[in-house]
Symmetry: T
Subunit: 69 residues, 12 copies
């Protein structure tokens, strides 16, 4: 295997539609400035409540991407 180096960044994505959608939104924003994203880890799952119901999921992920050296 190549001796790649990966950098990790941490983002919180949000969505009314659920946990997977919130993660997807985080990735969509990260993809605007980062290339070669490889994997992510969910490290925190929260939600905002309005009127006794979840109106926004807030999921924090740690994303790893290959550093081009």
């Amino acid at each position: 295997m190549n001796d790649h180096v990966y950098k990790h960044i941490e983002l919180t994505g949000t969505s009314a539609d659920g946990i997977e959608a919130a993660v997807g939104n985080a990735l969509a924003v990260a993809a605007l400035s980062v290339r070669h994203m490889r994997w992510l880890e969910v490290i925190d799952t929260r939600a905002h409540i309005e009127g006794g119901r979840v109106d926004q999921w807030q999921v924090t992920v740690r994303i790893a991407f290959t550093v081009e050296s």
Copy 2:
């Protein structure tokens, strides 16, 4: 910002339909006795298994609500 004080309660909601639905059921019961719920944090995700399949998701959340002083 106002110097609000928030109280936290911990509930386990259950549902056959998935993680988000289990959280929703926890909130629905909490809303019967608590007002001004603001946010929640998922702290444990478990499931009961029957016949080799998940038949009930069990999701524990910590819910924060404003204390009216």
Copy 3:
């Protein structure tokens, strides 16, 4: 209650369809060799990224089953 003893095994299930589906796939494979599974706990949620989007959820679960003595 009977003084059952439970054994725990740890599996990572994967799926493009979401967290619950990845857990279901882990259980389907476990059911080929283990009987009497009772409950599970999600202990890690990761995903593989391809083209800036999640293409595979990877969910690690700890499964408990009754040991027949």
Copy 4:
């Protein structure tokens, strides 16, 4: 399974007689105001020392009970 919701409370029970007795005392007090307790988890075990010996075990438990909705 019914989609029950469980609430969690946290208590510290104390006893000179040992860990199990301290937990039993916590439950006895909880039973005065809470019904339908289902399970508990030990989350901290401490003791007070007097004259170089334990004179009181202090065991903190998280108790789950069914919420009647």
Copy 5:
């Protein structure tokens, strides 16, 4: 020592003035409904930022009080 039982509650107090003041505000609100508070443990220290500066400390504490049986 008496075999007291202690109950724990979790609150987030807030203040612009610092960590100790935020804890004090949490206690002031708790004292409106709880008697015989004995000790607390700081379990989370956060802050809200406005204009590049902290404008509100948010400190979560676990408070223990004697249950009168």
Copy 6:
């Protein structure tokens, strides 16, 4: 010292009689299929509640045994 390799398994033993008895029951079942057990670590202590009292201790242990190579 010999360069032994140890494998770890995780079991939950149960008993009405207390924490040590629940661990003993886990070992008794493990001994039916595993030889050369060396040490264990308690990693979770729970209990089932019935009628306001503990009716079953549930103690999860990680057991290490020598692998014969």
Copy 7:
């Protein structure tokens, strides 16, 4: 609520004057290059000792700011 995405950065601020001042110094430096900071979490509190006294508090914070997409 808007589906904002937040990025997290981690800084250690230092000050002879106390914990809150060390956090303030971290924010002041972060504000030179980051806009729209929203909240922070204290994740480590250390101090350097000189002559038997604290001469510098070292407080590590995780800061969240809105990503403009």
Copy 8:
């Protein structure tokens, strides 16, 4: 209250008779060289296995005692 300072030491006590007895043995040895012990916290519970049974409980405690200044 007096502004006491407490020092913490960490010991592992052992006993064939159970968890509480192992803690008692740790205290008995500590009492030979330390005075004014006030409280302890159990931080690890292990056991040595011989012939498929526990033959020695090994309980690690953190003991706090008043420092005489």
Copy 9:
């Protein structure tokens, strides 16, 4: 750099005046018997409550000092 070895000790300092003052009191007592203290880490922040207010902060620190060999 020299290959120094550092030893760690753990103390709880107390003060009515706040978190930093409690740490300062722990250091003042430690300095009576330990030289060459280099850094500390706050590992627990608690408080004693009297009359609904904090009357004593109790801060546990891990202090590192150079061992003279």
Copy 10:
């Protein structure tokens, strides 16, 4: 990607030669009964001491392998 399922096992490898060698010994024994090992995670590093020196490193790893379904 294929929806593989991975199983995790936990082993402690030992060696006088260092941390990497202890991990290698754990893998060598695991390879006698497990095929398709993919990755491992170091979860605990300990050592046995004899005559004031390390005479055996003891490294616990969690190994993941593909389950053939």
Copy 11:
């Protein structure tokens, strides 16, 4: 001491040669874009397995560097 502010970044370095070499590779890549690196902390040690042997160590480090303000 100067009131420096440090920023933390997280990288995974890889190497077939061992843990220290993997850390060295992470630093070599980080040094291409970051100056004034001061210290690092190892936060995760993993390895890729091929043919029953480690063929690549994967070590995640948190690196702190001085922010020039």
Copy 12:
């Protein structure tokens, strides 16, 4: 087995040569004042960076030794 009691001490050893060498240096200094050391656990691995390279590994270990009573 004899009912030994073990005391734990925590040291940070340093070395330019790697993780195992830093642990060895910690033991060498500990051996000057402590006898009957039995085992150790690595609890933190850090390094100082100079010129973009590790110039000193800093490994913190918890060492257990038999207390002679």
